[in-house]
């Protein structure tokens, strides 16, 4: 079974994602801040990461860049969740390496379909 890492400081959103992805037969790991997310990513080597942009300490863009510039992790697909805030808009111009962007509020089915596109 494929492993998915969900990193978001909003627990409710993590839970709903976890629910539908587990229903689609994926194993989900969850982290509620950027630091834990980065550590977990290195520990478990997930097959895909769902990453929120706005998080305290280490934001999603930073995590994405750190992983994508590392040979060991650069092939892990990253789905970035964004709220389209002005702050994020400024950052989005920079190279983040994310494979997909999902705008809040998103459709759960759409997320599952996108995950399936990468993991089958």
């Amino acid at each position: 079974m494929k492993k998915i890492l969900i990193v978001d400081d909003e627990q409710d959103i993590v839970e709903s994602l976890k629910f539908v992805l587990e229903a689609a037969d994926y194993i989900c790991y969850c982290a509620y801040n950027g630091e834990d997310g980065l550590k977990l990513a290195k520990d478990i080597m997930p097959d895909l990461i769902i990453l929120d942009v706005m998080m305290p300490k280490i934001n999603g863009y930073k995590i994405s860049r750190l992983l994508k510039y590392d040979k060991k992790y650069k092939n892990i697909p990253i789905l970035m969740i964004t709220a389209r805030s002005q702050k994020e808009d400024k950052l989005i111009g920079e190279e983040t390496g994310a494979d997909e962007y999902i705008t809040k509020p998103f459709d759960l089915d759409e997320v599952v379909n996108t995950v399936k596109k990468y993991l089958g």
Partner: protein, 567 residues
């Protein structure tokens, strides 16, 4: 009255002339001593000096006297009629020994008259020159006034103008704007004692302007700020300054009071000086008023800019903060409605879909708000490409066909084939057309038609209700026009323009039932303006509406050129 000095040592001639000039209003005196001539001339300042040809060294004396006196007229008593060349240029008139008394008298009288007239002319000339100078000062001062909106500079210009035209010893200007300041421009240094006396005097002057009323500013003499400029700090003024001639004027315009000014000068002021002083003090009031208004406008502008920025930031933050909880609600509703947590009965399903529909609506409003705040902040990003309008119409038709069908409506596209390409942002145009078609779907009752048309038109062929005429006037050249026609409730003519106003969704029961942020059309208008296009509508109440938008065809090249120039 004329003073006549006769330089001679012939007694009989002196007596003769004394007799002639005794009768008329002449003052006659003589000098027979070569050494005393200069002193007598200096003291008595004669109008006419008559030189006797028989006087010793007379020619040298004439030359010497001419170089020291300019106000006397020289007359030469000659022996023969041959005029002597070496003194002719110093002499105004000649007398001869043989002349009758009447002729002598009339020669002198004419000479005196000429001299007086010349003097008067020179006085008038001097006055004219003075007036001209003063006018020039006033002119340059008033052009300086007109060129500045800085209050400090305006006061400086006023004092400069006064200095040039009146050459004062001291001016005391009290400015009551913001914090009261006493500006002193002085020829000599002012001692501390004199300064306190001047302060007191100025404040009393100031209070006297308002008689029984309270002055607009309370001035605390102890803490009154003083700005002092001294021309010659080595010298000092004493209290005698208060015995100098002085003038005082308020600096005010209508109800606006800016301050007052007092001016001191040792020599007395003339009435011309007073006019000049009043003029300058009055002239400075108008630019001071403009400066005050300018300052107010600048402050208001800064506040508005800040508010505008805050508003944009606020909307951006709010939309972000709203999105996250909205996502959690939407996800939970979706999971429940998928019945993965258990089955839901029919009425439960009904309310669940009501909640889902409203979450969707809220998300739409947040997106619109964010779009509008981006457009207004100039942060909207456009991705212009050469594109075909058919693809936009196809896309919108296919995405909304289902929605229309569900409501029992017919969505039809009647396009003109082979329209030229345009340079535009396809996604934004899809947004505009989606909005127009969604509105049509919202406002059209079951069983009716919605038609999307497209055609090519010249700017002058375009037609719109009067309220949009100004928008169409800006257009020039060839345009692709897209029209969304419905058979819905329509819009009253007076409400047409308001349809494109922010939050101005026209009040009626149906529009409230169908909902929406009311921002779709204002956003569409802004997006079209970014494309150098236009949007307008034509409608008849209860018959239906036609919404048009026009996109320039020639922008394919002009926009490309623009981006080339920018790069």
């Amino acid at each position: 009255m004329g003073k006549i000095l006769f330089i001679s040592n012939r007694l009989e001639k002196i007596q003769h002339y004394a007799k002639i000039f005794d009768k008329k209003p002449y003052e006659f005196f003589t000098s027979s001593d070569e050494g005393a001539i200069f002193e007598i001339t200096e003291i008595n300042n004669p109008d006419i000096i008559i030189f006797d040809h028989a006087f010793v060294n007379v020619k040298q004396i004439i030359k010497k006297l001419k170089s020291v006196t300019t106000s006397s007229s020289f007359v030469f008593l000659t022996q023969n009629t041959v005029i002597e060349n070496d003194i002719i240029k110093y002499i105004n008139a000649f007398l001869t020994e043989e002349m009758s008394d009447e002729l002598v008298l009339s020669t002198i009288a004419v000479n005196l008259k000429t001299k007086n007239m010349l003097e008067r002319l020179s006085d008038t000339n001097k006055n004219l020159a003075d007036s001209l100078y003063r006018l020039n000062v006033l002119y340059s001062t008033s052009s300086q006034f007109a060129g500045s909106l800085d209050k400090g500079k305006l006061i400086n210009y006023m004092v400069e103008g006064l200095d040039k035209s009146l050459s004062f010893d001291l001016t005391c200007t009290l400015c009551t704007e913001d914090e009261p300041v006493l500006i002193l421009n002085s020829l000599y240094e002012i001692s501390d004692e004199l300064l306190s006396a001047i302060k007191l005097r100025t404040v009393l002057n100031y209070k006297s302007l308002f008689e029984d009323k309270n002055p607009p500013f309370e001035i605390d003499i102890e803490n009154l700020k003083v700005i002092k400029t001294v021309k010659y700090p080595a010298n000092r003024f004493t209290f005698t300054i208060f015995q100098y001639d002085n003038m005082f004027a308020p600096i005010s315009l209508g109800d606006n009071f800016f301050g007052c000014i007092e001016i001191f000068k040792e020599a007395p002021f003339t009435s011309d000086d007073a006019t000049c002083f009043q003029t300058i003090a009055q002239q400075v009031s108008l630019p001071l008023k403009s400066a005050t208004l300018y300052q107010e406008i600048m402050e208001t502008n800064l506040k508005l800019e800040k508010l505008e920025r805050l508003k944009s930031e606020f909307i951006s933050i709010v939309s972000h903060e709203l999105r996250t909880p909205l996502t959690a609600i939407k996800n939970s509703l979706d999971i429940i409605s998928s019945e993965r947590c258990g089955t839901i009965n029919e009425s439960g399903q009904k309310f669940l879909s009501m909640a889902q529909r409203n979450v969707q609506r809220l998300a739409g409003i947040i997106n619109d708000l964010l779009d509008l705040s981006k457009i207004e902040a100039g942060k909207m990003e456009y991705h212009f490409t050469n594109m075909n309008i058919h693809s936009v119409i196809d896309y919108v038709k296919s995405t909304l066909f289902g929605v229309a069908k569900e409501k029992g409506l017919n969505l039809i596209a009647e396009e003109t084939l082979n329209l030229p390409e345009i340079y535009a942002d396809a996604q934004r145009l899809e947004q505009v057309l989606t909005n127009l078609v969604s509105n049509a779907i919202k406002f059209t009752p079951e069983g009716k038609n919605i038609i999307i048309r497209s055609h090519l038109a010249k700017a002058e062929q375009l037609n719109a209700p009067d309220c949009f005429k100004d928008d169409l006037k800006k257009l020039n050249g060839e345009y692709i026009v897209v029209c969304v026609e419905d058979e819905g409730i329509g819009i009253a003519e007076k409400d047409l323009l308001r349809a494109f106003d922010k939050f101005a969704q026209i009040e009626n029961s149906l529009s409230r039932k169908v909902g929406g942020s009311g921002l779709g059309l204002p956003i569409a208008k802004q997006l079209l303006e970014a494309h150098s296009g236009a949007i307008w509508c034509d409608s008849e109440l209860n018959k239906g509406s036609k919404f048009y938008f026009a996109l320039p065809v020639n922008a394919v090249t002009s926009n490309l050129e623009k981006s080339l120039i920018l790069n």
